[in-house]
C-alpha cells in the first residue's frame, strides 16, 4: 500500500501527465492569491541547476513561506550542497532561508527577504466539512501555477498522523502548495497522491502549530529539531501500540497477536491452492501505512510485523527444516537507509522459551544506529520455532527510528504474544 502513495516531489526530469482544468471560480481565487504563491526550487550549487521543485505559500507579511519538508529535505540534510530559491508569479527569483521543519507532518518554514509588508495566505480557523469544495494550488510538473478543484473527504482513517483525504488531482510538483476553501483560507497543504483523484493533504492545524512554535522560539538547529520530533513521534506511536489491546488470533495452529488500532493494517496469503507444494504455508503481515521521509533514500518511522506458519506435508523433518531454514536466511530492513544514515546491523541470536513455555524458538535481534540522530535505531527481530518436527512458525518485525527502551519493551511484548495453540 505504501508504494501507492507517492510524494509529490518532482525531480529535474519528470513526465508530463494530464492536468486538471480550473473552473471559473477557481480562476478567481487563483488571481487573488497568485502573488503569495511560489515555486520552491532546490538548486544544486555545483551545477547551478534545480534538482527538485515544489510549491510554497506565504503565511506572514514578513516573508515566511510554508512548504513541504520533502521539497527542501536535500538542503536540510546537506546544506553545503544545495541552496533554496523561490520563483514568484512575476518571475522574480531569490534565495530562501530554512527556518523550521516538522518532519513528521512533512512541513517546513522558509523565509524570503521583504522590503515592505506583503499579502499572505490566511490560515483557516476551522476544519472543513465533508464534501466541501476545496481548491488545491501548485505548480505541477513545472508547468506553471494552476488551481485544481476537489472535495474534502475527512481525515484518512488508517493514518497515525492525521492526513486529509482530498478527492482531486494532486500532481507531482504541487507539493507544499496550499489547499484553500471558498474564502481563500488555507485548510491543508498538498503532500502526497495515491493516483486517480486521491490526494492527501497535511491538515492546516499542523502548520498553525509549527508557525506558533516558531514565533515563540525558533529552533536552534534543524537537525536537533528533527531528532526531537522523530523521538517524540516514535515514542507516541509505540506507547499507543503497547497500550492498545493486543488480540490473539489463530494462524492455523499458532497464536499470533494483532494490535487493535486502525493505523496498523493486515494482509494475508497462503499457498493452499498449490497442491504440489511440499509444505503448506500461510502468511499474515501487518504494517503501519505511513512512514517519515527524511531524504529520498532514507525513510523512518515504519513498523511491520509478519507471521508465517508452515506445515510439512509428506516430507521428512530434516528436509522440512532445511527448507524452513531458507525462509529465515534473508531478513532485511523495513526502511530505506544508506551508509551516510545508519551503522551496519549488530545482531544477537539465541534459543528462547517464552515464559508460559508455549513456544521454543531461535530468536534473532538486530539493530543499527542512526548517525545523525544518536538516540534512534532501526531494529529487526526474527524468530523461528524449533519445537515441532513438522510445523514451524516464523514471527518477525521491524521498526525504524525507535529508541532503545521502547524497542526492547515492544520486543518483549511481541515475544510473549506468540505461541502455539
Amino acid at each position: 500500500m505504501k508504494g501507492f502513495i507517492t510524494l509529490l516531489l518532482v525531480c529535474a526530469s519528470s513526465f508530463i501527465s494530464n492536468i486538471s482544468f480550473a473552473v471559473e471560480q477557481a480562476e478567481e481565487i487563483f488571481k487573488q492569491l497568485a502573488p503569495s504563491l511560489y515555486q520552491i526550487r532546490l538548486i544544486d550549487k555545483a551545477s547551478g541547476e534545480k534538482s527538485s521543485i515544489g510549491s510554497g505559500f506565504q503565511i506572514s507579511s514578513d516573508g515566511l513561506i510554508a512548504t513541504n519538508y520533502h521539497v527542501i529535505s536535500g538542503y536540510a540534510r546537506h546544506p553545503e550542497k544545495y541552496r533554496i530559491e523561490y520563483l514568484d508569479n512575476e518571475g522574480n527569483k531569490n534565495e530562501l532561508i530554512l527556518q523550521s521543519v516538522d518532519v513528521i507532518n512533512d512541513l517546513a518554514l522558509v523565509k524570503r527577504e521583504t522590503l515592505a509588508d506583503m499579502s499572505f495566505f490566511k490560515l483557516a480557523n476551522q476544519v472543513p466539512t465533508k464534501g466541501q469544495e476545496l481548491f488545491s494550488l501548485g505548480n505541477p510538473h513545472d508547468l506553471g501555477m494552476i488551481v485544481v478543484p476537489g472535495t474534502y473527504n475527512g481525515l484518512k482513517k488508517e493514518s497515525f498522523n492525521d492526513k486529509i483525504h482530498f478527492t482531486g488531482s494532486v500532481n507531482s510538483g504541487m507539493s507544499g502548495g496550499p489547499v484553500v476553501n471558498q474564502d481563500a483560507e488555507v485548510v491543508g497543504i498538498n503532500v502526497a497522491t495515491s493516483g486517480n483523484q486521491i490526494g492527501f493533504l497535511v491538515p492546516h492545524d499542523k502548520l498553525v502549530y509549527l508557525y506558533k512554535a516558531f514565533k515563540e522560539s525558533p529552533p536552534e538547529s534543524i537537525e536537533q529539531q528533527m531528532s526531537e520530533q522523530l523521538s517524540k513521534n516514535q515514542k507516541k506511536l509505540i506507547t499507543t501500540l503497547l497500550n492498545s489491546s493486543w488480540k490473539s488470533k489463530l494462524l492455523e495452529n499458532a497464536i499470533i497477536p494483532t494490535i487493535d488500532v486502525p493505523f496498523i493494517r493486515c494482509w494475508g496469503d497462503s499457498n493452499a491452492d498449490k497442491t504440489d507444494a511440499l509444505y503448506f504455508a500461510a502468511v499474515a503481515s501487518c504494517s503501519l501505512d505511513e512512514n517519515t521521509y527524511l531524504s529520498s533514500n532514507f525513510f523512518t518511522g515504519s513498523i511491520e510485523m509478519e507471521f508465517r506458519y508452515m506445515q510439512a506435508k509428506e516430507l521428512s523433518a530434516n528436509k522440512f527444516y532445511h527448507l524452513y531454514e531458507q525462509q529465515i536466511q534473508r531478513a532485511g530492513p523495513g526502511n530505506k537507509a544508506g551508509k551516510e544514515d545508519v551503522s551496519e546491523y549488530q545482531c544477537h541470536h539465541d534459543t528462547v522459551t517464552t515464559s508460559n513455555q508455549a513456544l521454543n524458538s531461535k530468536s534473532i535481534f538486530c539493530t543499527r544506529a542512526y548517525k545523525k540522530f544518536p538516540q534512534l535505531f532501526d531494529v529487526l527481530y526474527l524468530s523461528a520455532s524449533i519445537d515441532k518436527d513438522k510445523e514451524a512458525l516464523i514471527s518477525h518485525f521491524t521498526i525504524s527510528g525507535i529508541e532503545q527502551s521502547t524497542a526492547l519493551a515492544f520486543t518483549r511484548k511481541f515475544m510473549e504474544s506468540v505461541s502455539w495453540k
Binding site: D276, L278, A317, N318, K319, F320, Y321, H322, L323, Y324, E325, I328, Q329, R330, A331, G332, P333, A337, G338, K339, V342, S343, E344, Y345, Q346, C347, H348, H349, D350, T351, V352, T353, T354, S355, N360, K362, S363, I364, F365, C366, T367, R368, A369, Y370, K371, P374, F377, L380, L382, A384, I386, D387, K388, D389, Q404, L408, T411, R412, M415, E416
Partner: protein, 322 residues
C-alpha cells in the same frame, strides 16, 4: 678401485646406477664404453676416468660439446673427482660417488602408516566413497524444493564423487610424473576419508551454531577445524605421494591449505560490499532432536540484545569520524 656412477635426470632423480670395480672407466655413446649413454650430444668416446692410486682423474676425449661440472662452467679435463660430483655431458647428468659416501638416515614408518593401509583396503575405500556419494545425494535432496525420485539424486551423487576424486587422482598423477610411486588407491582412500570427515565437521558446526547463542565465543574458533582437517589431508597426500623432508612437507601442506582457504577468503573479501544494509546473523536451525542445551528465557534475550545498541552507536560514531 670401486666406483659408483649414477645416471640422473635434471631433477636429480635416479635413472640408472652402476657399480664398477675398475681403475679406468670409459663413458660415451659407442658400445665399447663401460657406461653407454644414448644422448646424441655425447660423443662416441666422451670421457675417461682413471684411478692414479690416490685420486680419480677425468680426461675429456676431445669432445665436440665438452664435459663440465654441473655448474656448466668448470671444464672437467684433468679434474680430480670428489664423491658426489655431478658431471654434465651433452644434456645428460652423471653423478659419481665412492663406496664410503654417507647416506641419509633411515626414515621411520609414520604412525599414520596403519591408518593409510586401512583406508587403502578396497572394502574400506568402497565404503568411504559410498558414504561420500550418499551424503552428496542427501544434501542434493535436502536442497531440492520439489519432490524428486531416488534416481534423480543418483546422478549428482555420482557426479560429486567423481569430481572430488579428481584431487587424489591429480596428486597420484603428479607423483607418477615426478618418478614417485603413484599409489592411486591410497590417495583415494585417504582423500575420501577426509572428505567424509569434512562433512562431519560441517554437521558438528551446525549443531554448535544451533545450540549456542551468539554470546558463545568459540563459534568462530570452530571455523579452524575444517582448515586443520584440510591441512592434515594435504600433509598425508604429500606423505603418500612424495619423498621429502618433514619440514618441507609441512611447508607444502601449509602452502596448499593457505592457497585454498586464503584464496577463498580473499575472493569473499573482494566481493563483500563496503557497507551492507542487510543484517548478518546466524540463521542455523535444525530439527528438535539436535537440541541438547536448554533455551534462555525472554529476560535473558532482552538483556543480551540491549548491549547491541551501544555497539551500533559506537559503530555509527566511528564511521562518521572517518
Amino acid at each position: 678401485m670401486e666406483i659408483i656412477l649414477e645416471e640422473i635426470s635434471r631433477g636429480h632423480k635416479l635413472i640408472s646406477r652402476h657399480k664398477l670395480d675398475k681403475d679406468s672407466v670409459l663413458i660415451g655413446r659407442n658400445y665399447q664404453n663401460d657406461i653407454i649413454l644414448s644422448d646424441p650430444h655425447i660423443c662416441p668416446a666422451h670421457l675417461k676416468l682413471h684411478f692414479n692410486g690416490e685420486h680419480w682423474l677425468v680426461e675429456d676425449q676431445q669432445t665436440i660439446n665438452g664435459s663440465f661440472l654441473e655448474d656448466g662452467k668448470t671444464a672437467l679435463d684433468n679434474h680430480i673427482v670428489n664423491s658426489g660430483d655431478i658431471f654434465s655431458l651433452g644434456k645428460s647428468l652423471i653423478r659419481i660417488v665412492f663406496v664410503n659416501h654417507p647416506v641419509e638416515e633411515t626414515v621411520r614408518f609414520s604412525t599414520f602408516e596403519s591408518l593409510i593401509n586401512f583406508m587403502r583396503n578396497p572394502v574400506v575405500l568402497a565404503l568411504s566413497i559410498l558414504l561420500f556419494a550418499f551424503v552428496s545425494g542427501y544434501i542434493f535432496y535436502l536442497n531440492k524444493p520439489t519432490e524428486a525420485s531416488f534416481s534423480q539424486f543418483l546422478a549428482p551423487a555420482i557426479g560429486m564423487s567423481l569430481m572430488f576424486a579428481i584431487w587424489p587422482a591429480g596428486v597420484a598423477l603428479m607423483s607418477h610424473l615426478t618418478k614417485h610411486e603413484a599409489r592411486v588407491m591410497t590417495q583415494l582412500g585417504i582423500s575420501f576419508a577426509f572428505f567424509n570427515l569434512l562433512w562431519m565437521s560441517d554437521i558438528i558446526e551446525n549443531v554448535i551454531k544451533f545450540n549456542f547463542s551468539s554470546n558463545w565465543p568459540l563459534s568462530n574458533i570452530y571455523a579452524l577445524v575444517p582448515i586443520a582437517l584440510a591441512f592434515c589431508l594435504f600433509w598425508l597426500n604429500s606423505y603418500i605421494g612424495f619423498h621429502m623432508t618433514s619440514r618441507r612437507r609441512i611447508m607444502v601442506a601449509a602452502g596448499i591449505t593457505l592457497l585454498f582457504f586464503g584464496g577463498g577468503h580473499l575472493i569473499q573479501l573482494s566481493n563483500k560490499p563496503e557497507f551492507s544494509t542487510r543484517p548478518h546473523y546466524d540463521a542455523t536451525i535444525m530439527t528438535p532432536s539436535f537440541r541438547f542445551l536448554p533455551s534462555s528465557d525472554v529476560d535473558k534475550f532482552i538483556l543480551d540484545s540491549e548491549s547491541l545498541f551501544v555497539k551500533a552507536q559506537k559503530e555509527a560514531a566511528k564511521k562518521k569520524g572517518k
